[in-house]
Symmetry: C2
Subunit: 514 residues, 2 copies
């Protein structure tokens, strides 16, 4: 008896899952290439690496825009699947496919070339500590991103359906990193946030600075490395399914739940930096290690958004990692590595780790001022995309807003508009995801605390597994089955809000550290 013929729906699903598995694998390889580039690639390998990345990106684009996949998606959409994972897979793959198909290949190539020029010009401008050499390249990148946004906007309009509020150009860029997030939500939220953050910063910086004298003697680099690995182990990062290497800037690269690569950097003069970098990247790493591996073939084994990813890094770095209970448990272990910490009490370490000061550089900013740095960048890039600001006017606009938000003007462009790499490749729409992450982190921890009433006591005993398991169950393990805000709402009862973040910061800085 011959085998039964498969139905057209079966054939469509075979195409869909084949494409999803291939895309998962190809994106994993892209991640590995980028990790290798920052950690092991010899200098002379750079030119060929560019070609390799381009060839792989072309392969991803080809898979996503293949007519056979479009046909299969259309066929599968005719009978919406009863299985919720299949329904999610269809949504996610259609989302990616529609965006890939909307942007002409010539524009993708033009952006890639402009990114390469932009990065070079940005580096030249940084060397000169002046914006001038970067201005033209940035103007070109902004123009291309506006073109890209114009190509993507109709997809957002179509997805929103008739009668929904019309998305603006910036939304189309933002949506790439934070699916579903819109300017109409972010703008009032950031206005409210800066409204209470600025006076909080005034209050906290009016106090005498924390005592950091015990951090002034050089810390041994090898001991820093060993303790950073110990911290990763303490939060439950699995070093049998991941590793830590050195790079100039710390990052996390999730190749697969079984293969998550973190990096860190060591500086004998900055002893806290590798500790909190390990906790930050380790937080990202825990998300990647607990993604739903079984759903690789449905394209759902990936993080829901950049902001939700950042919520995990900030939760472990700041809300847990800069808490007093955490250092009650970990300081004795740190003291075993660093003689400089002998006799330092947890309270003193806690205060030093939470020093607040007005500063120019976002990546070095404390919890209180950090989101003011983001508000500054969000306002500027929104004005750029809206055509209300010319790229050449950025330094003056930066200085004016920095004065208004942070109370200081940068002495030069290196400490101002040139400090972040994002705009060097025209990444517009990414910065606000950092604030989204900070807000989600507080909302998630508040909910975890309700679910785990003795959380602080457990953390104080070094028991971090209950929190990690709660996060895995409610956040990590969902993958891309839901969008970020839906994940947070299901886990906490609340969506994107500054309420919990305000309670957290005010509790810590106005009461605990007063």
């Amino acid at each position: 008896m011959p085998a039964p013929l498969s139905s057209p729906a079966d054939a469509a699903w075979a195409t869909i899952t084949g494409a999803a598995a291939d895309l998962h694998a190809l994106r994993a390889v892209l991640g590995l290439l980028q990790w290798d580039q920052e950690t092991h690639m010899p200098p002379a390998g750079a030119a060929a690496r560019g070609e390799q990345l381009a060839a792989l990106e072309a392969a991803v684009h080809e898979r996503l825009t293949a007519p056979a996949l479009a046909d299969a998606l259309a066929a599968a959409e005719e009978t919406p699947p009863a299985d919720p994972d299949r329904a999610a897979a269809l949504r996610v793959l259609r989302r990616d496919q529609a965006r890939a198909a909307a942007v002409p290949a010539a524009l993708v190539r033009a952006i890639a070339l402009a990114q390469s020029r932009g990065l070079q010009a940005w580096r030249a401008a940084r060397a000169a500590r002046a914006f001038g050499p970067f201005a033209g390249a940035l103007a070109e990148l902004v123009a291309l991103r506006r073109e890209q946004a114009a190509a993507l906007r109709p997809v957002l309009v179509r997805e929103a359906g008739p009668g929904a509020p019309a998305p603006e150009a910036y939304d189309a860029l933002l949506d790439q990193y934070e699916p579903g997030m819109r300017v109409a939500t972010l703008e009032p939220l950031l206005a409210r946030l800066t409204g209470w953050l600025a006076p909080l910063l005034d209050t906290v910086t009016a106090r005498p600075p924390a005592d950091r004298s015990f951090l002034s003697r050089p810390f041994d680099a090898e001991a820093q490395w060993r303790f950073s690995l110990e911290l990763l182990g303490a939060i439950g990062f699995d070093l049998g399914a991941g590793r830590q290497d050195r790079s100039i800037h710390p990052f996390c690269c999730g190749i697969d739940p079984g293969d998550v690569r973190l990096t860190n950097r060591l500086d004998p003069g900055l002893p806290l930096s590798p500790m909190f970098s390990a906790l930050h990247e380790g937080g990202h790493g825990l998300y990647e290690q607990h993604l739903p591996a079984a759903l690789r073939g449905l394209g759902l084994c990936a993080a829901a958004s950049a902001g939700l990813h950042e919520s995990q890094s900030r939760l472990w770095e700041n809300l847990v990692g800069r808490s007093l209970p955490f250092w009650r448990a970990m300081l004795p272990r740190a003291q075993a590595h660093f003689p400089q910490l002998a006799g330092v009490a947890p309270e003193r370490f806690f205060r030093a780790a939470n020093a607040v000061e007005r500063s120019h550089v976002r990546v070095e900013a404390d919890e209180v001022s950090y989101n003011l740095h983001i508000a500054l960048r969000f306002e500027l890039e929104l004005a750029l995309v809206r055509g209300e600001l010319d790229a050449r006017e950025l330094p003056a606009a930066w200085s004016e807003r920095s004065e208004r938000l942070l109370g200081l003007r940068p002495p030069d462009d290196l400490l101002g508009v040139l400090q972040d790499i994002h705009w060097s490749t025209g990444e517009l729409g990414y910065f606000p995801t950092y604030t989204v992450g900070n807000l989600y982190s507080a909302t998630l921890l508040a909910a975890a605390r309700r679910a785990l009433p003795d959380l602080d006591e457990a953390v104080g005993r070094g028991e971090l597994a209950p929190l990690r398991e709660w996060l895995s169950a409610h956040v990590h393990g969902v993958g891309r089955r839901k969008v970020a805000e839906e994940i947070v709402r299901d886990a906490t009862g609340a969506g994107l809000t500054d309420r919990d973040f305000r309670e957290y910061l005010e509790g810590k800085y106005l009461r605990e550290l007063a």
Copy 2:
């Protein structure tokens, strides 16, 4: 005025060079994935890595078998290009395309699955030190390789043209690694080679063994690592365009001329091993670093054959690296790393580095017995592919031939038929390329010596650049523009022969070391 329309020939060449550049990049990425797997990948990353390799191999196969490429090749072949590089590009890409198109995708998949089963079964058999658990998997792999050979043989027949001698099945497998090489050439050559090697081995092993007593105290592993890097620098391997990492088995992975990854292993009890591994892999690495980078887009920036590649590793490891002049130059540098070598004269080190003994394991074999190990494997796999030997009869056949060729029978299968990884994935046709490499290495060095009359004096002063430059000019820089034997013939006046290898071995072992 509108731009002139490009001709159909221009369009065909655009397709060809686009495909060649993409294939170069994708193969480079496959190399990186394999390097990473052996050096840095965490254990839990293995399953996903398999998927990544499969997705990339599918992308390579798709590029090679795309109808647009077949059309472009046919169009370009209608007017053979005057430019010799373009003519070579056409030949090489057609060669790869014809082979990819000849093997059905279902057979490719079946082989990949059988390889994965084979590797597992081989590991289980090694753990049991008995062939039994591997027998079935190997029989399946042999059957699939015979099927693959049957699919590939018509391509070889077509390329050879009417009236040419008919290639046999094994030729189709061998030709994948050593383009143009045939059993009809190899079989009589190996018979002649073993005819004089066996009595030479008798003569040399009848002498008292070399004094290796100064190698018996443990050597510091860190010093071994530093000296291996110093050796790489001495032969001219560029560590700005490559690197050395640790792995269980040393290998060379050429990702691009600007990015060549070598590995090595350290064992305090085997001090010579990392030195000669560095020279061996460094020899492969020099070939990769001096391939014609400018011809990436023509698909010619790759080695001509596995045998020619091996000629470069063996030339640096043995013909240079185990010579007395080399250690006159390098022993003082080794002594700076290893107190055990204090007071050892270059002649004594030279004798220890060239100790000859009958042994079971190919990878540990000296220069005199090495090719007898290859002859053993070649005879057996030829018989397997011809259907004259059943895979299950291998241990007995191995034992009988080992007795005849090497004068000893393995005490168990681990030291016999299970020792090499090649058959675990059904790689049949690879082993003879090692002997091809050994023979080419002697012929090339003899020609270099004619071109550089004071070569030995220069080596004795540590001046290795003239030899390296001669090899780059005559071998490395040719890339795939010619097949291996043509490269050797153009460089030396002679093709594949055992004459120079015999002169080299007899000169060293019957005169210099007598």
